[in-house]
Subunit: 320 residues, 3 copies
């Protein structure tokens, strides 16, 4: 939907400089934006902004030779304006005819369900959700409002819990539920297992990237973000406002306080309690500063060992 510069200034609460009637039709990066595009520039890219051919630039100060909108946080204002500019009218039906919807489901207003989605029985879904094609929701899952689930995600499969019976493994009952609160986003081919006897809970505002595994009985606190290919083992609790890097592994029944930050590929041990918003890295995960210090010393170790050998006759890997 086309917007004038004035409309965008109003929408973002920014101060307009230049032509208020210029019409913008789309968005683009600073590098690629043309006369019909809105773009944005952080303060440090001011000279690039001046040289750009964008129709309008959102920045922290007026951009010479351009229609611009001055705000405190250009990236956020651009994001808000983009939502209006690229809003699409949908011509297809809200629920694609190839989707399979089970008995006793409740689906809220304006919720869109893509081609090939399979929704089990007794599923409750709020308003304004988007399920991209081929999402599978198992029986009994509860989903809030404005939830976005990307293609291929599987919500509510059985947890991975077994009891040994002699040499065989027998599946422990996996009959719990999944609750996904408002404004959650779930990436493509991500899997969220149902609880075994309890409930797997993803609190409001959580953002989960592609190919993430969320096991049974896990609880993820609100406004936490989890990057691709991370795995969270059964019964772990991730505190609110945490930031979990990609390919992180979190052991069973771990407990991360709110505001925890985990670097990519970090590994948190089973039953570990990560306190008070620490920044951790490595496997086993340890405070970032400690990890970096250890790595730096490890890098120097070969030379120190050489020095010990030369000066003091140490023999290292021989028995002594």
């Amino acid at each position: 939907m086309k917007q004038t510069a004035r409309q965008i200034a109003d929408l973002t609460g920014g101060q307009l400089n230049g032509d208020p009637e210029i019409v913008l039709e789309s968005i683009a990066s600073l590098k690629n934006a043309g006369p019909r595009d809105l773009t944005y520039a952080e303060a440090k890219f001011r000279s690039e902004a001046e040289r750009s051919t964008a129709g309008c630039v959102i920045s922290t100060s007026a951009i010479a030779g351009h229609t611009s909108i001055v705000v405190k946080n250009p990236k956020l204002a651009f994001t808000q304006a983009a939502a209006a500019l690229i809003a699409q009218a949908h011509d297809e039906p809200a629920i694609h005819p190839t989707a399979v919807i089970g008995a006793a489901c409740s689906i809220g207003a304006n919720t869109r369900i893509g081609a090939g989605c399979v929704i089990g029985k007794d599923v409750t879904m709020g308003a304004d959700c988007v399920l991209y094609p081929r999402v599978v929701i198992y029986d009994g899952v509860t989903i809030g409002n404005r939830v976005i689930i990307h293609a291929g995600a599987v919500i509510g499969a059985d947890g991975f819990g077994y009891v040994k019976d002699g040499e065989r493994y027998v599946q422990f009952p996996q009959v719990g539920r999944v609750v996904i609160e408002d404004d959650v986003e779930i990436g493509a081919n991500t899997t969220v297992d149902r609880g075994s006897l309890e409930t797997t809970i993803i609190r409001r505002g959580v953002k989960i990237d592609n190919l993430v595994q969320v096991a049974h009985n896990v609880e993820i606190g609100e406004h936490t973000v989890i990057a691709a290919q991370t795995g969270i083992s059964g019964s772990s609790k991730i505190g609110a406002h945490s930031i979990i890097g990609g390919q992180v592994g979190i052991g069973e029944s771990a407990n991360l306080d709110a505001h925890t930050i985990l670097g990519g590929q970090a590994g948190v041990l089973n039953n570990k309690h990560v306190r008070g918003g620490e920044v951790l890295w490595g496997t086993p995960a340890r405070p970032l500063k400690e990890f970096l210090e250890q790595q730096a010393h490890l890098a120097r170790l070969p030379r120190w060992m050489d020095e010990l050998k030369r000066k003091l006759g140490f023999r290292g890997n021989t028995d002594s």
Copy 2:
């Protein structure tokens, strides 16, 4: 299906205390169980069991004030009883009308195939299997009895094998098969590739979690369990009764003896032979004790280096 306490005692071979006619309708955790629920309590949760409102408790001794069933392994007995209590009558057809079944397939009695599954040609599947929605089985795959495959899993895709032709890669033929034996369970969005010229084999009783990668020509021995996001490279052999943690990587043509245990995120090198049921961790994977000892010494290294510097004038990362 409702069961009386007496029926559950009979089914589990346990000793009944209290009211044999009490009717149980479902299962729940010790914390949540109500008067119509069966639950279980390990010995250490005896006092919680006494305070619970469960209709019947399976435990290692009688629970005061409750109808209880005494067995040696409460969790196993509960699992067995739960299977009877939560058994569901299916009202849908065994093969969902949206499933696509290729030519010349053989599908055993009581096997259920969910919505949107795609089964290739010449696929043989035994009895009492469950394929959840959107499973894909490529041509020529053989599946035993009582196999459960969760949504989105892909069985029999081409292996990842190429030959260099100048600067280009040409696919080496991937025309082998996949054999999945009885009682195997495969998690959501897991991938099991066909053999190149040989066969990828998953032996009976193997349990595989979500998002696991099993490459071409791999053989997984019976009753082995593999946690989420683990990857097993081409032509590796995993011995029977092994336990493979989450996010483990196993290199090409590795060979793990039976009863191997690998900690989460461990990495086994190409061609490595892991002998005699070792417990390994780290990358490259090494015996657990060794890994932990190295990590402990690494944590102390900064202080030791400081001591070497102060007492002996070592210079560490400078050339000497």
Copy 3:
């Protein structure tokens, strides 16, 4: 399609020894090949080749007692011959009736689209592509010729980019495109995100294994191979002819020169520039030689610390 030994010799440019009229119907490994099978043997497997029952062996020299074809690179010649021998006539329609194709798509000649695939709007696809069942292509994706995409892959989902608005995360616009060039192969359940404002590009000849994550704005150079479960974060550039092991993690805006080799589970930091075709391993990734040297010294560290304690009275983990 049956071939005579003579036809295969012609096709591979090899020198024929033995019976030119022998008819071959299929391919098999050296161990399993029978009288109707073509196989190949590297020079070191010459005696196995002599004992085999294969109808014809491709090798580096004539195989006594067998019809054989002599070439310089037996594996490559076998791969080329196999393509002719196992070529299949397709009896199904090129686009499966259960596939969903959006408006304004262009699909080239001989491109096959499997059951349950969902193709969005404005998708361009070249000739001779194969999409296995249940692939999802989002709107606006461009795909070249001879591209193969395995089941469950998702191409063009939104990138994982957010802007903080107070305590909430708001999605940064994800309106860029995906371009996949000729001869690319993409594994089962792999995900390739669209660009945010730019384009995610996979150059010609790239081969990507299963369960790989390719984030927004990534560019992968031609003829690079990427093993299973690797994750490439936003805006990273992977140079041409690189070899990326399994479960590798590449941070945001990393830049790998052409001919880079990364060992399995390696982790490349955000913004890291890997120069000139290095071989790296570990997290953070470092030159292979350095990594191995550090690991070797780490393994000896416990004994050296013991020696320091005994000979010099060092106290290690106490304060000093």
